[in-house]
C-alpha cells in the first residue's frame, strides 16, 4: 500500500468503477478492485460538502440506468430507492437511457444533488441521491423539445445534459450544457431557463448566430469568480464574463496546427485565470485523437490570452481520446492534473500539467476521472462489489 493518504481518484469506465489512491507525495498509486464490474460507470463523484457521500451513475448495455450511493468510498453500496426518471405519462414519452452527469448541490443545501441524463433531462435529489425527482421547469419547459435536439439523433453517445454548474453565491442560479442544444441558465432554481450562447460558433448549423443548438462539450464556472465561465465547445475554447453575456473564443491563441477542439476543460482551484484543455483532432471526419497523434495538455494562466504546451513524459505518439468528464485537478499547493484515456490509462502531473507519468494502465475505456476528498473514516477501497444490497 502507499504511504500517507493523498489524492483519491474515482475512475469511471465502460466496465466498472475503479478507485485509484495516491500517497501524500503523489508518486505511489494503488488501483483498487473494480466496483460493479461490467456496469457502465459513467460518472462517480464524492460530495465535497461532507467528504463522505459517493454517487455513481451506472447502467449496463441491457438494464435500465440507476444511481448507487456509498458512504465508505465503495466498501458498501446501496441503490437509489427512486433513480432519476421522467414522470410517468410524460407527453413526449421520454425515458432515461443513461444518467450521464452528477453534480453536488449548493453548500447551503446539504444532500441536494443534480443529475443530467440522456435524453437531456435534469433531475434533483434532496436526500443525498437516494430519491430523485424531475426538474419540471426544465424537462417540461415549453421550448424543451426545440432546444434539446428531440427526437434524439442517436449520435454515438446519445444526446446528453451535462455541466451542471451552481453559482456558489446563489443556489437558484444554475447553468447546464446540452450536447447538443447549447448552454442554458436559470436564475429561479430551475423553474425557467434561457439560452446563453451569444458569441459561440455552431459551424454545423446553417444559421450564422443561432440562439441555441450549439454543442458545448464541457462548461466550468470558477467558484472564486463565479461570473466567469469557461467552455470547451465543439467549435473551440471560450470564456464568458457573465456581465458581458457573450462568449469570447480564447482557443484561437492555441497553435493553429493543434487547434482548439476537445472535450474537457478544467480550472485551477484557486486561480480563475488558469485552465487546462486537452486538444483533439476535429478535422476531416473528427478522429477525436490528439492532433497528429501527439498528446499534450495546454494550460492558460492569463484567462486564455496565451497557452503553454505540457507533454513531458507523455507518449510521442498515441491515439487515445480524453472524454469530457475524464480530466480533473487536485487542490495541492502545486496543483496536480489528471486525465484518463479511452485506452484505459490514467496520467498524472504533479507540476500543474508540465510533466506527466502514467499511474494506471490496462483499465477499460475511461469515461470519467474525478478527485475525491474523503473525510476521515470515509475510506475503504477493499471489498469492492457490485451488489447493491451489500450495505
Amino acid at each position: 500500500m502507499v504511504g500517507a493518504p493523498g489524492p483519491v481518484l474515482l475512475v469511471g469506465t465502460r466496465k466498472g468503477l475503479f478507485v485509484v489512491t495516491g500517497d501524500d507525495t503523489r508518486t505511489a498509486w494503488e488501483i483498487g478492485p473494480p466496483h460493479f464490474l461490467g456496469h457502465i460507470a459513467q460518472h462517480a463523484v464524492v460530495d465535497p460538502r461532507d467528504g463522505r457521500r459517493l454517487l455513481l451513475a451506472a447502467s449496463t448495455g441491457h438494464l435500465g440506468p440507476t444511481v448507487f450511493h456509498s458512504d465508505d468510498l465503495g466498501r458498501t453500496w446501496a441503490e437509489a430507492s427512486r433513480p432519476p426518471a421522467f414522470r410517468a405519462g410524460d407527453p413526449l414519452g421520454r425515458s432515461v437511457n443513461s444518467v450521464f452527469w452528477l453534480s453536488p448541490g449548493h453548500r447551503e443545501q446539504p444532500g441536494v444533488w443534480y443529475a443530467g441524463g440522456s435524453p437531456q433531462g435534469l433531475f434533483r435529489s434532496a436526500d443525498g441521491g437516494d430519491t430523485w425527482d424531475p426538474v419540471d421547469g426544465w424537462n417540461d419547459h415549453p421550448l424543451w423539445a426545440t432546444w434539446a435536439e428531440w427526437p434524439e439523433q442517436n449520435t454515438p453517445d446519445g444526446s446528453m445534459l451535462h455541466s451542471i454548474n451552481i453559482d456558489p453565491r446563489d443556489p437558484d442560479h444554475l447553468y447546464i450544457g446540452l450536447s447538443s442544444g447549447g448552454v442554458f441558465e436559470s436564475t429561479d432554481g430551475g423553474s425557467d431557463w434561457r439560452p446563453l450562447n451569444a458569441g459561440c460558433e455552431a459551424a454545423f448549423m446553417v444559421e450564422l448566430e443561432p440562439e441555441f443548438g450549439h454543442d458545448p462539450h464541457c462548461v466550468r464556472l470558477h467558484p472564486l469568480r463565479p461570473d466567469r465561465l469557461y467552455q470547451q465547445n465543439h467549435c473551440g475554447v471560450y470564456r464568458m464574463e457573465r456581465a458581458e453575456g457573450r462568449w469570447i473564443r480564447i482557443g484561437e491563441q492555441l497553435p493553429a496546427e493543434v487547434g482548439d477542439i476537445g472535450f474537457p476543460i478544467e480550472l485551477h482551484p484557486r486561480d480563475p485565470d488558469t485552465a487546462w484543455v486537452f486538444p483533439m483532432d476535429g478535422s476531416d471526419v473528427w478522429p477525436r485523437t490528439s492532433p497528429d497523434g501527439r498528446p499534450a495538455v495546454y494550460v492558460t494562466r492569463d484567462a486564455g490570452d496565451t497557452w503553454t504546451r505540457g507533454d513531458t513524459g507523455l507518449p510521442d505518439r498515441a491515439w487515445f481520446t480524453v472524454k469530457r468528464q475524464a480530466m480533473t485537478v487536485d487542490d495541492e499547493a502545486t496543483v496536480g492534473v489528471y486525465f484518463g484515456t479511452t485506452s484505459g490509462e490514467v496520467w498524472a502531473s504533479r507540476d500543474e500539467g508540465n510533466g506527466w507519468e502514467c499511474i494506471a494502465r490496462h483499465l477499460p475505456e475511461i469515461y470519467s476521472v474525478e478527485l475525491a476528498r474523503p473525510a476521515p473514516g470515509a475510506s475503504g477501497t477493499s471489498g469492492a462489489s457490485g451488489d447493491p444490497s451489500s450495505s
Binding site: T60, H62, L63, P83, A85, S95, V96
Partner: protein, 106 residues
C-alpha cells in the same frame, strides 16, 4: 408463478435464479417482483411502462413485450437479456428462444 431471473438481476434476489411472484398480468407480476426486490423493475421496464429495448420476457416459450399479457400461476415467466447480434425481428427471436430453453432447463 415461477419467475426465472437472469444473472444480471440476481443481485436483487440475493442470488436466486428463480423466485415466486404473483399477478394476473405481466405488469402485476413485475410490480410484485419489485415489492419483493426493490429496484428490480426499473432495470427491466422504463418509467413509461415499456419493456427496455434489450430486455426480453418469455411466458413459457412465448416472447412477449406487452406487459398487459395475461398470465396464470402455472406459467413460467423468464426474464432475460437480448443477445448482441442475436435474435431480432427478422428471425422471430428463434435464437433467443433456443437459449431460453437451455436456461429453463438449468
Amino acid at each position: 408463478m415461477k419467475v426465472a431471473i437472469p444473472t444480471p438481476l440476481r443481485s436483487y434476489t440475493t442470488g436466486a435464479s428463480a423466485v415466486v411472484a404473483h399477478g394476473t398480468t405481466l405488469d402485476e407480476v413485475l410490480h410484485d417482483l419489485d415489492r419483493q426486490f426493490p429496484g428490480i423493475r426499473f432495470r427491466v421496464v422504463d418509467e413509461q411502462g415499456r419493456l427496455r429495448r434489450h430486455m426480453r420476457i418469455f411466458v413459457d416459450d412465448d416472447m412477449v413485450r406487452d406487459l398487459a399479457t395475461i398470465v396464470r400461476d402455472d406459467h413460467v415467466v423468464t426474464l432475460m437479456q437480448a443477445l448482441s447480434g442475436g435474435a431480432g425481428p427478422a428471425d422471430g427471436g428463434q435464437r433467443v428462444d433456443r437459449s431460453v430453453r437451455r436456461y429453463t432447463n438449468q
